[in-house]
Symmetry: C2
Subunit: 165 residues, 2 copies
Amino acid sequence: MIYQEVYYGCMTTAPQPHHRIAFLLSQLGSDAASGFERALQALDITASDAGLLRLIGRDPGVSQRALSAQVGVGPSRIVAVLDRLEGRGLIERRRSRADRRIHEVVLTEEGERVLGNIRPLAEAHESAFTECLDVEEVELLQNLLARIADFRGLSLDVHAGTSTS
Amino acid sequence: MIYQEVYYGCMTTAPQPHHRIAFLLSQLGSDAASGFERALQALDITASDAGLLRLIGRDPGVSQRALSAQVGVGPSRIVAVLDRLEGRGLIERRRSRADRRIHEVVLTEEGERVLGNIRPLAEAHESAFTECLDVEEVELLQNLLARIADFRGLSLDVHAGTSTS
DNA sequence: TATTGTTATACTCTATAACTATA
DNA sequence: TATAGTTATAGAGTATAACAATA
């Protein structure tokens, strides 16, 4: 939560009472992110960890450099994060034989198990946001949000969800 | 941006392709918050600063303790933040004569001026999110988002926007 | 005794620059 | 020379505990 919390600090003084989509989005987005973090505490991992595990599960043997770029964590930071995940037995680092500079990162069996437990938590978390809407409203809302995201030039990575199932 | 960025790190691996409101919200919320930060750079303040200035403008003479509670920044952190704002000549601290433990925080003239410049930036920022929708869609979206926020138990502080105008 | 503002400390995340070993 | 991983360092934000002045 980088962005979310700062704007959130401004929450109690919304700029406009009638027309404040951006404000509502930042507030709800912050809530969604922190709620997801809270849900993942059941697995004793962070949302950032979950993203890493998904990427590694999708692309076994991926390099730390590639992970760093995809998850946006910085090449030096990724070292400590992977150290921790390796210490917990969720991932392993193997020297590539093609290019001995590279560490190929793979999931352990335990890592696969934890990864498999993320999806149901994510689905429950999703439900916690859409429970108060009916099916048509959810679809409508998703359509509106997707249009804004597209308008804002955000990459939605629509294919990501299917690759870890 | 606390929550936002962490969840955002998971962005490339959205849990569900078809039904992922929470994910979209966190993504758009992060974008909204960082965009607001960027807009405020024109005034050389952060979103957190903007929230503080609004609160002080609304309640001149407010104590640091009250500010800390309202903005969620922590009593010790607020000291450094106010030091910086005071160093820039945007606010002043005055010893309360009723209770000499209290610092009454007020805006300077320059602080009032900067505060007055926040609203147009916030409105422009708002437009950057709603430009791609027509009026009915904006109203519909706001209604859906407000219902989720209410369902999630988030305090919207509907009256805040009118008090600084 | 409790509270306000303050200082100090530790912990996390971020960003940057250097270092090593490989290529 | 360039790159992958690593280490070290400094900065910002958060949280906590302690302290002096005041109530």
